[in-house]
Amino acid sequence: MHCMGKNDHEAIRAVLGGDKEAFGALVMRHSHSLFRVAFRITGNEADAEDVVQEAFLRGYRKLESFESRSDFGTWIYRIAVHCALDRIKSSRANEASRLAEETDPELDDVQVADLAAGPDRLLLSGEIGALQQTAMQSLTPTERTAFVLRHMEDCSTEEIGAALGIAPNAAKQAVFRAVQKLRFRLATLRVKV
């Protein structure tokens, strides 16, 4: 995502100089990588598409604050990560308030049991995503995002920190907590099989 830096800067200069269409090149060049990370964080196609649009909108609006020394790909990628994190935070908040209403202590077990009922079926039918999603649900939005960036997007802890607006060490801790929780969840799922 860093290879087109020079073209990107030319496009940005053109946009700021009044050539709106030049932004199209940036959108077309970076849409796929933004969609990929947005999908991995939100786990949902429709949300990921929303995130991509939102990220470019925010990017366009903030284009004047873009530092010409930086890489546009990295910049817009971070904006997308932020949008995706916001998205899962708000859907998580809704979910939490819904669950708070249903004060059923066994609810968690029921969900686990449902999914644990057929992990083989899940694997065989290619729906491995469902098992993974269940495990990922035990993470906070920040942990989830940090883990996705580290494990799936190969970002360094410095990059994760920058994208999430936290210190590299805090990013590292978030990844660590995420892995611990995931392993605990996977162990639970295995026991139930």
């Binding site: 946009v15 700021l16 100089g17 009044g18 709106k20 269409e21 932004f23 199209g24 959108v27 077309m28 060049r29 970076h30 849409s31 796929h32 969609f35 990929r36 999908f39 991995r40 786990g43 196609e45 990921a48 929303d50 991509v52 649009q53 939102e54 470019f56 909108l57 925010r58 366009y60 609006r61 284009l63 004047e64 932020h82 949008c83 994190l85 916001d86 708000s90 859907s91 809704n94 819904r98 209403e101 491995i128 995503g129 098992l131 993974q132 495990a135 990922m136 580290r150 494990h151 799936m152 360094s156 802890t157 590292k172 990844v175 660590f176 892995v179 611990q180 995931l182 392993r183 996977l186």
Partner: protein, 257 residues
């Protein structure tokens, strides 16, 4: 022999930067069967949550994203719609700041009729100040509307008790929306006018449910909102008002656009 902690094992698995301690860890891992086993178990777990391949987007995906965005983006240029650019309002004069304050107070209360003297102040301000006030009020209104639409979008149609705050907010926004529609006439922006009109309809329906919102109504409103792309339109409109023009208002929004 001191075994590796889980944190160190995770650091190994993710290839954390090689320092002195990492080199020592690696060496330990190569010679200690116990840690090697723990490491293998970790690798196994990480493989269970392998990177997800997102559903493929076709080659025209970027083009489609651009086509959906392009009509809503304002050109970066100092033309007759200068309010779209930063800079113009950067140094707010004292008079403009006062008018701004008045406008915010006026907007915050629903009893705007009682504040006629303040509105008179706004009206007597120079035209560019007046327009700025309109934009600040509008930007705040769009922020609040966006938040409400997001809530509606994610509202669980099954739990109707949760939505009464939404109805109250819709009532409060409805009055403000009418004001904004009046003011928007000064801006001469068809996209804005249409969106505010749609918003008016939706807010009206949300606000005027005597027995509260029932499941069917929520589902229908969600459908209407989605069919209309209203949330997206509101975001686009909001994004066309640069933040620099709205600093100093009582906006309380967090990270969302």
């Amino acid at each position: 022999m001191k075994h590796l902690t889980e944190e160190e094992l995770i650091g190994e698995a993710f290839g954390e930067r090689r320092g002195k301690s990492e080199a020592a860890n690696e060496q330990h891992l190569a010679t200690c069967a116990e840690c090697a086993q723990a490491y293998a178990a970790l690798q196994n777990d990480l493989a269970e949550v392998a990177p997800v391949e997102p559903p493929a987007r076709d080659a025209n995906y970027g083009e489609r994203v651009w086509q959906s965005l392009a009509p809503s983006l304002a050109v970066y240029r100092a033309d007759k719609r200068r309010w779209l650019r930063t800079g113009l309002w950067k140094g707010l004069s004292y008079a403009a700041a006062c008018a701004l304050l008045v406008a915010c107070a006026f907007y915050a209360g629903r009893q705007w009729e009682q504040r006629q003297p303040h509105i008179t102040v706004v009206k007597s301000a120079p035209p560019e100040v007046k327009q700025h006030v309109v934009l600040v009020v509008l930007s705040d209104h769009l922020d609040r509307s966006e938040r409400l639409l997001v809530e509606l979008k994610h509202a669980d149609a099954g739990s109707t008790e949760m939505v009464s705050p939404m109805r109250d907010e819709a009532r409060s926004l409805l009055a403000a929306n009418r004001e904004c529609r009046q003011n928007a006439k000064q801006i001469d922006d068809p996209a804005l006018a249409t969106a505010l009109e749609h918003l008016d309809r939706l807010l009206g329906e949300l606000a005027n449910q005597p027995e509260g919102l029932n499941t069917a109504t929520i589902l229908r409103l969600q459908d209407e909102m989605n069919a209309d792309g209203l949330l997206f339109k509101v975001r686009v409109l909001r994004s066309r008002i640069p933040d620099q023009q709205t600093t100093g208002t009582n906006r309380s929004k967090g990270g969302t656009i």
